[in-house]
Symmetry: C2
Subunit: 367 residues, 2 copies
Amino acid sequence: MPSSTTRTVRVELADRSYDIEIGHGTLPGLVDFIASRSKLSHIVLITDTNVDPIVGEPVAERLTEEGIELEVMVVDAGESSKCADVAADLWESMLDEGSDRQSVVVAVGGGVVGDLAGFVAATFARGLPFFQIPTSLLAQVDSSVGGKVGINLSSAKNMVGAFWQPRGVMIDVDVLKTLPEREFRAGMAEVVKYGVIMDAEFFEYLELHVAEINRRDPAALMYLIERSCQLKAQVVQDDEREETGRRAILNYGHTFAHAFEAASGYENLLHGEAVAIGMLCASRLAERRGMVNQSVTSRQLELLTALGLPTTVPDLPHDEVQKLMWHDKKVQDGRLRFVLPTRIGEVVLVQDARSEDVSRSLGETGP
Amino acid sequence: MPSSTTRTVRVELADRSYDIEIGHGTLPGLVDFIASRSKLSHIVLITDTNVDPIVGEPVAERLTEEGIELEVMVVDAGESSKCADVAADLWESMLDEGSDRQSVVVAVGGGVVGDLAGFVAATFARGLPFFQIPTSLLAQVDSSVGGKVGINLSSAKNMVGAFWQPRGVMIDVDVLKTLPEREFRAGMAEVVKYGVIMDAEFFEYLELHVAEINRRDPAALMYLIERSCQLKAQVVQDDEREETGRRAILNYGHTFAHAFEAASGYENLLHGEAVAIGMLCASRLAERRGMVNQSVTSRQLELLTALGLPTTVPDLPHDEVQKLMWHDKKVQDGRLRFVLPTRIGEVVLVQDARSEDVSRSLGETGP
């Protein structure tokens, strides 16, 4: 199935439909990619201090060579840039640089840059055309699909934002060559998630191609990114604004993961690492409820281990973790919702998890 | 035509359609109005220091009596609250008070409160249901219809925002009893504008009912608010996101008005006052281009005068005003666009106004 030619995933959302183009060595074609989807008189390119020298500058150079009027805005790398102050600085800078309703915003970076730049694009002049060049695996398979953009508040992530679909997403897997090992692995957790929640064959593909994936074989990467984007696009098409409940399946492992991240102060655990452990906890919880047998959990455990992801619940007080889970925004009407597997390739939403079972699923997870 | 029963104007925007209910003494029915259009577990009521004691507090009391969980957030009265800092404070306060995706935002105030609260509603948790109780005539006939919400940047008004339609707008003309005379008159400028741009009969109605209007007769107010909302709704339905150009007709008089406001530092001139003078300038410009005869201008001049609005161009240097007009955001591709009348009840968009004619139309306006 893998191939090395350019692949396109179409996200069908009526007049907000767009293409995700996946290839390698494709970034030099960015001007055409944008120009065929939007007026192109003035570009605001937003990136961060890590990505700018590696991807931002070459892209900016190319755009300038092609005669595009361009402003580059570089924010500090890291989650702390995803805040109201930085958004306000970007708005003012855009105004100073003469941005108007004809301007186009291009995000070059990981999830933080995409979410922040997307929020700025969604709100400047009541909405500008927006393009994404995701440079981390996590951003390529997750945050670049679905149009969720936003910033954090002091004590809540992604609490302010919008649904603002990009006009196009260009994924060049070559940018992954320089991605730190740990970040690459963390991105793979979300890829595994798509297999568990929607596609047993894809899960099997991952099991069979661990070696290619771990050495970042471009054809394998292109295939797994394409399939992940297709699967996420299916969910987003069914429930663009998170209204029907369908989009909730994407949160498999995340109720646990958010609590692990919060309990550890977001410092020792990358999001994908927390998701890997969270998926195993959720799978144990499903076992305890008699929804799956033990092999469903052990297949996930083996795959995640082979991909170099952590699988042991971090050493945090269980009652602290449980308390944090009850504060997660996915708590609705006082009930804690979990996305739990019924087999590899299918999950359901469970509304009535018993606190005792949740606690046990925390205790039992481990290699 | 006028009547004193409750009237409803439906704004048809597919799944974003909503009702504007116009009545007098209707505010006590607010809970039912909201509850029939949205889940109602937690309300964030946003108002300002001027409106809170007069309208905000009675509304809040009523909601509390009915057992609604309510947070009241009062911002300083005035345009300076419509900024990123105040929006960020509101986001944080909402989070502190336990707001979530089930919360509803209710704006009680004039245009500043409506725009600010609407922006906060559009962005908190990626969008909350939003209701408006406009308390100024200007907000009732203009900003409460059409879904434009937003904040100002340091040197540009309304530069950041969204299109976010309310779930419902409740207009109780009784709140106008306490509106300062000058603000009431300023609101009438936009009412006159609807007559000029779209409805000759409505313009005539205003000419014939100046006395009732000036003494704020509830039946006359209800009728002119209803008709204004209907006319604006027609335009918004045709061009919700300002894409086809149709919505531009609402800017009749505004290219001049924005320059007057900016040149006078937004201090000596209310928006509606600037619009009154701007409409006369635009009408003179149309005369100069042979599009209308002198009577079109003089009818506007007489009506605006009878309604107590200023009609003389403020004593500002013409070249300063012209320079500001060229910096207005309605400048597209370097051409200055004007909305000009072809008769009372119809306007067209003109792209090629000569600077000399614009200057003369500034000079000639006056009683």
